[in-house]
Every structure is written in C-alpha cells, then in structure tokens.
C-alpha cells in the first residue's frame, strides 16, 4: 500500500477550510462554540451592569495592578507559544519543547496569581452571593467569568504538558507540527478571552 493510500485511510479528504488537517478545523469549531459561551457570559454581565443602580466600580474594588501583570504574563506566554511552533517548523525540537515548557509555566503562574487574587478578595468580603460594595451579582459574575476562564487556563497547562511529551515521542519534528499548531490555537484563544475579560470585568 502506498504512503498516500495509508494517509487517505486516516484522513479521507482534505477540508477546504483547513487543508493542513481536520484536527485544526475541529479545534476552530470547538473554539467558536467556546467563544459563544464566553460571549454570552460577558454580554449578560454587560446587561446586568448597565441596568444596575449600585454596581461597584470594578477597578476600585478589585484593583488592577495584579491583573495588569497577569495580562502581560498571558501575552508573553502567547509569544512563547508561537516561538515554539516557529522553532518546530525549523526542525528544532529542543527549542520547541523549551518554549512549550515556558508557556506552561506562564499559565501555571497565571492560575496561581488568580488563586491568590480570589483568596484576597474573599478575605475582603467578596462572595458569590454578596459583597460590601453594592449589587450582589457583582461577586456572582466575577467568580463565574474569571473561574470559567481559570479552568480554561488550567486545562491549557495540562494540554501543553501533554504536548511536550507528544513532541518528544514523535519520530520527526514535522510530525508534530499540526498538533502543536492546534495547541497554540487553544492557548491564544485563552489569551484572547482574557483580553476581553480584563477589559469588561476590571477596567470598565
């Protein structure tokens, strides 16, 4: 059986949208669905905020120094992610794994800082069912949206660690290129969502 025949047994036809792989199209479809989820959460937050008479000023209550740093951290981790893909494209698996590990470490630090921020705010009185500053839905929406995003980051860190192992075990660097690119799509999406969450939940 020819190599082309083997490949066609795995992927019967190319998708016209993502000729590289079906997996990439699958990840895009997942991300669009996930984006609708985040979009609904943020749109609902915006509607609640706009119609509430006693909504607290988020940047005064939550503080933005730590979250501005967290935003910067996620942007840096997006750069390390694209660098991992770039080095893999050049056939350098060691640098690829190093940058993947850097991305995972950035994500892990982000989750740690979020846990610290949550514990600090809970200690100050921000709870899921109330807070000393105003509308009780402020706490509910804050924990729901940032928690949902934090779960995505945690999942992303696990995904990245699995990908380091995957890149190591593949016979050739380019054999894992599509998989790393798909992982990157997920990670950049997490960064993109945080950009929106940071603006809507902390700055506005």
């Amino acid at each position: 059986m020819s190599q082309a025949a083997v490949h066609s047994a795995v992927e019967p036809a190319e998708t016209p949208l993502t000729p590289e792989s079906w997996g990439k199209l699958g990840m895009w479809i997942f991300l669009v669905g996930d984006a609708v989820g985040f979009g609904v959460l943020l749109a609902s937050y915006g509607a609640m905020r706009a119609t509430s008479a006693d909504w607290p000023s988020p940047y005064e209550v939550l503080g933005i120094n730590l979250t501005a740093f967290m935003t910067f951290l996620l942007i840096c981790s997006s750069v390390t992610m694209v660098k991992a893909l770039e080095w893999l494209g050049r056939g350098d698996r060691i640098r690829c794994r190093t940058f993947l590990a850097g991305t995972a470490i950035g994500g892990a630090i982000f989750v740690g800082l979020q846990a610290y921020e949550w514990s600090k705010l809970i200690h100050e009185g921000l709870h899921i069912n109330g807070n000393p500053w105003g509308a009780s839905l402020f706490g509910t929406s804050f924990f729901l949206v940032t928690g949902f995003h934090g779960l995505h980051v945690t999942g992303g860190v696990i995904y990245l660690l699995a990908m380091i192992r995957y890149v190591t075990n593949r016979p050739a660097p380019m054999a894992s290129y599509n998989a790393v690119e798909i992982t990157g799509l997920y990670w950049h999406f997490v960064d993109l969502v945080w950009i929106m969450v940071f603006t809507f939940m902390y700055l506005l």
Partner: protein, 112 residues
Amino acid sequence: MTATTAAAHKHPNYMMIFWWLAILTVIELAVIFLPMAKFTIGVLLVALALGKAALVAMYFMHLRFEVRTMGLIAVTPLAIATLLVFLLLPDGFAVAHKSVPKKPAAAAPAKH
C-alpha cells in the same frame, strides 16, 4: 496534506505583535484615568480590547493566513454576543425601572 507532510506556517514578526499588545495594554490602563465622560472611556476601552483581540486572532492564531470563510466563522461569536446585549438591555432596563422605589406620595394634610 497530512500531519507528516505538514508545511511550516508563515510566521509574521511576533515580537512586533507583542510590543503592540503591550503598548495597547498600557494605553488601556491610562485611559481609565482620563478626565472624560464614562461613556467615552467605555467606548475607547472596548475599541482597544477589540484591537488587541484582533491582533491575537490575526497573527498569533494565523487567521490572516487562513481562507476568508474561517475569518467569517471566527467572528460569529462576536456578532452573537453583540446581538445578545441588545436583546437583554431592554428587558434589563424594564426590570430596573420597575425596581426603582417610588417617591413617597405627598403627605396628605392631617385631619384633626
């Protein structure tokens, strides 16, 4: 094209994108302290966030190098979320209007 024959993607200048994202974040942080109307600040912040999100999607997620249909699929959630805001706002304002406590009626003259 299969996994084993994948061609490396075109790679833009990622550091340039990083600096743009960092600069836009600093501008966002500065905007909230500007002496302007809250509505104007809100519009500026949303525009800056959308700009940053577009940079991430176009260059880090390589949407710029994909077929146009992928771009249209990718912006669908944004359209749905925007539509949802306009659907929710009238209902929200109606509830807020109902929940505003009515001013107490003028005290009736005391009867002696």
